[in-house]
């Protein structure tokens, strides 16, 4: 056995704290170490060459690299040793950067001692590593996209365009998402629906896309290349094969104009049988089971008028939820966002004072397809003075610490729209910093100010209060004179979906401190989750405007397409295996395995390597040490423990 040890300086990232020469020298004294060197950047071409040459010339059997986190470069170095003819799994890494030099910057001696220990432990483990063989499995050439907003639409279209079957699952009756609710988009003032609806139609028409609206993903099994997804198609109580979208049922509904219309932020009313908005895709009606009198009470007059009105005989109050299973190779999560509820901060008066609305409500008010057909009016009157308040629920130490990134610009857009539609109106924006960072943003902001919109600055912690005064609202902002306004619009924060706990339970992907889904690397892998084969698109990963959402969605689509295009993937060979002689056939591991990867065959446990994910739970469960995890055996782990504690080796 010949082990090579390579210590990285990482510029000065490691060598600035850890004495790398000392560590490399020390490593020479460790058992089985044939060569030990240090170099400026082990991951660079010359660094890699150094390792390769040594493997070939000295006939190294194992390699230890002491550098950054294995989460960063383990795959790189595995490939390096493999290219030089060594087995990729006889490689081990010691993390002396993230876990050492960066964490103990003022303790050079202790950091160096720790680095030596970490190298010693890795050498001890490496000596016990055995070659493993990679296995390949075929990839199901299909993808699943969860969420039908602009992110999901973009992703689905691009994967489908690459020639792969794509399932797009959306929980509401129509795709379109938040973007469908918007009137105009900043800073270009394109009409949101005009640019979105053609894409929605493309989705519906695409031969490779299967659209599943009013459906929810309830379970995911398997692994990259071979996921099995369970989807609940909620009962619509309308046969979508028969429904032609004429709307006669909604006209006939006994609750016509009596049910709060969530698409219009509850500013308008709809029937109990409805399409969320006129351009909905698919244009198929859905009965709201919470509201429909017949579904709730079992009767609706003599017979439900919707049934009588439907010439296509599409309505079926007996319809039930349907559970289906989909086989896919990769998954893109594009579940979008919710908006902060400003009634959590009573000082804004939202929910109590009629004149106070949210930005999204304003959006529906100003939209030609909204409840007022685009007339900005409050309590039936056109406002003369409008105050916008920014950062409601964002940049808040007690709440969402982050900046929601879109509020500055959508407020500028709203201010512009007020001036555009009500030329004489006075418009004031209370801001706490204007962040106009994007393409064309600063220009747009300047333009809006030039149009006569008054920007007043507050500090984040300054008090602000809105109080009712007859049919007006008075905005009292610290350091500014009170303003009596007809309309107050709150720029509310973008937040993670309210039902995120359920979603993440199904998906098993982690969330960050801000509650958004966590990418595996914030800079280099912004669309990857910790579960390979599951990617993130759009606002579920963090607040974004439309261009950024579309860009990330395209990226996620590309990522999700790669394994599909390759057609097969390497399985991690670090799975469990059974030492038959030691196995008593007790079956504890069979019960414990979360993936049902272990079976009892003729009284002995047997592992299905394609199903095993390598967690090692079985190994810790086994009473006789008969089931072990390749690359992390009891023997290997104990040798690391022992070596870290022994004064000698």
């Amino acid at each position: 056995m010949k082990i090579g040890v390579y210590v990285c300086e990482c510029g000065t990232n490691i060598s600035g704290t850890v004495d790398v020469a000392d560590v490399a020298e020390y490593a020479k004294s460790l058992p089985n170490v044939a060569v030990s060197k240090y170099y400026k950047y082990m991951c660079s071409d010359p660094g890699q060459l150094l390792i390769k040459d040594d493997i070939k010339e000295l006939g190294l059997t194992h390699v230890v690299v002491a550098s950054c986190s294995p989460r960063m470069h383990e795959p790189t170095f595995r490939t390096v040793v493999e290219e030089a003819g060594m087995n990729a799994y006889c490689f081990e890494m010691a993390n002396i950067r993230e876990h050492c030099s960066w964490a103990h910057m003022h303790e050079k001696f202790k950091a160096t001692e720790k680095a030596k220990d970490l190298v010693k432990m890795s050498v001890a483990k490496a000596a016990l590593l055995e070659p493993l063989e990679k296995k390949q499995v075929p990839v199901t050439p299909a993808a699943l996209v969860i969420g039908g907003g602009i992110a999901g639409i973009q992703t689905a279209l691009e994967i489908a365009e690459s020639g792969f079957k794509t399932y797009l699952v959306e929980s509401t009756p129509s795709i379109g998402g938040r973007m469908a609710q918007l009137d105009k988009t900043f800073p270009t003032m394109d009409c949101s629906a005009c640019i979105l609806t053609p894409k929605m139609v493309d989705v519906a028409r695409h031969p490779n896309i299967e659209l599943l609206t009013y459906s929810e993903v309830t379970g995911i099994d398997g692994y990259i290349g071979n996921f099995t997804v369970t989807v609940k198609k909620k009962a619509r109580y309308v046969d979508i094969e028969k429904c032609v979208g004429c709307g006669l049922c909604a006209e006939a509904c006994r609750l016509k104009d009596r049910v709060d219309d969530e698409f219009n932020e509850n500013l308008g009313k709809r029937s109990a049988i409805y399409v969320p908005f006129p351009q909905a895709v698919p244009l198929k009606y859905t009965i709201d089971p919470e509201k429909c009198i017949f579904l709730k009470t079992g009767k609706c007059g003599d017979s439900p008028p919707c049934v009588g009105a439907c010439a296509a005989d599409a309505i079926n109050h007996q319809q039930e939820d349907e559970i289906i299973e989909l086989d896919v190779g990769t998954i893109v999560v594009a579940t979008g966002f919710d908006l902060y509820d400003p009634s959590q901060k009573p000082e804004y008066g939202y929910g109590k004072i009629k004149n106070v609305i949210t930005g999204m409500e304003f959006e529906r008010l100003v939209s030609a397809s909204g409840p007022t057909e685009g007339h900005i009016e409050i309590n039936g009157k056109e406002p003369e003075k409008v105050v916008f308040i920014q950062c409601v629920g964002s940049r808040d130490k007690e709440g969402n610490e982050y900046c929601s990134r879109v509020c500055c610009m959508y407020t500028a857009k709203h201010a512009h729209l007020v001036r555009d539609k009500i030329p004489g109106a006075e418009v004031i924006v209370y801001n706490t910093d204007v962040r106009a960072y994007g393409k064309g943003f600063e220009e747009f902001y300047v333009r809006v100010m030039d149009e006569g919109v008054k920007y007043l600055r507050r500090e984040l912690d300054d008090q602000i209060e809105v109080v009712e005064n007859g049919d007006k609202a008075i905005v009292k902002a610290e350091g500014h004179p009170d303003i009596e306004a007809d309309l107050v619009v709150l720029a509310t924060a973008i937040e993670q979906k309210k039902d995120i706990a359920d979603i993440s339970k199904v998906l098993k992907i982690s969330r960050g401190a801000d509650n958004f889904f966590l990418e595996i690397h914030p800079k280099l892998r912004p669309m990857d989750t910790a579960t390979s084969g599951i990617f993130l698109g759009g606002c579920c990963q963090g607040p974004k405007d439309i261009p950024d959402t579309v860009a990330q969605a395209s990226g996620a689509a590309a990522k999700a397409t790669i394994p599909l295009a390759q057609g097969k993937i390497d399985l991690d060979p670090q799975t469990s295996f059974v030492i038959e002689n030691n196995c008593a056939g007790c079956g504890l591991c069979v019960e414990a395995c979360p993936y049902s990867a272990i079976e009892l065959m003729d009284g002995k446990a047997e592992v299905n390597e394609a199903l095993c994910r390598g967690c090692g739970l079985c190994s810790a469960t086994c009473r006789s040490g008969a089931i072990q995890l390749k690359g992390l055996t009891d023997h290997q782990l104990i040798s690391m423990i022992k070596s870290s504690l022994s004064e000698v080796f």
Partner: protein, 145 residues
């Protein structure tokens, strides 16, 4: 250059088992964010906290570790569905044995997510301080015989 480390003080040696998906990533983040913490933990990376056999903890203590840290994803967040619930039960059972030998307060089970770099640094600082106060593993010398 003057070395500021005070080598005369007792420096506990701690073995840290961290799961790859949350706690190891959290420790990485602590480094990337340059959160400073004492250099007393020797980390062993496992894929899931459920890989940790109680015998590893005992082994570490009998080999002379002053403390053992086991860190995994927060309950409900385990990358392998519910491995960490098993870990929690196992360590609770192990604790009964440890209590007998007065070692219970040397074993720490913590949940650290991939975004909790700060917390990882705090956890390590905290347990290092606790162990400093407790002093060396009393069984160390005995077992050495």
């Amino acid at each position: 250059m003057i070395e500021m480390d005070d080598k005369s003080d007792f420096e506990p040696k701690i073995i840290g088992f961290l799961c790859n998906w949350c706690s190891y990533a959290g420790a990485d983040l602590a480094g990337v964010s340059r959160f400073q913490y004492p250099a007393n933990v020797r980390v062993i990376r496992v894929m899931c906290s459920s890989r940790i056999d109680p015998q590893f903890v005992l082994k570490a203590l009998t080999e002379g570790a002053d403390g053992v840290l086991i860190a995994g994803c927060h309950p409900g967040d385990c990358h392998y569905i519910e491995g960490n619930y098993r870990t929690r039960r196992r360590i609770a059972a192990l604790d009964k044995i440890l209590e007998k030998y007065g070692l219970s307060d040397r074993v720490f089970l913590e949940w650290v997510s991939a975004s909790e770099g700060k917390r990882f640094a705090e956890v390590v600082t905290d347990i290092t301080n606790k162990l400093k106060e407790l002093g060396p593993n009393p069984h160390k010398a005995r077992w050495e015989i």
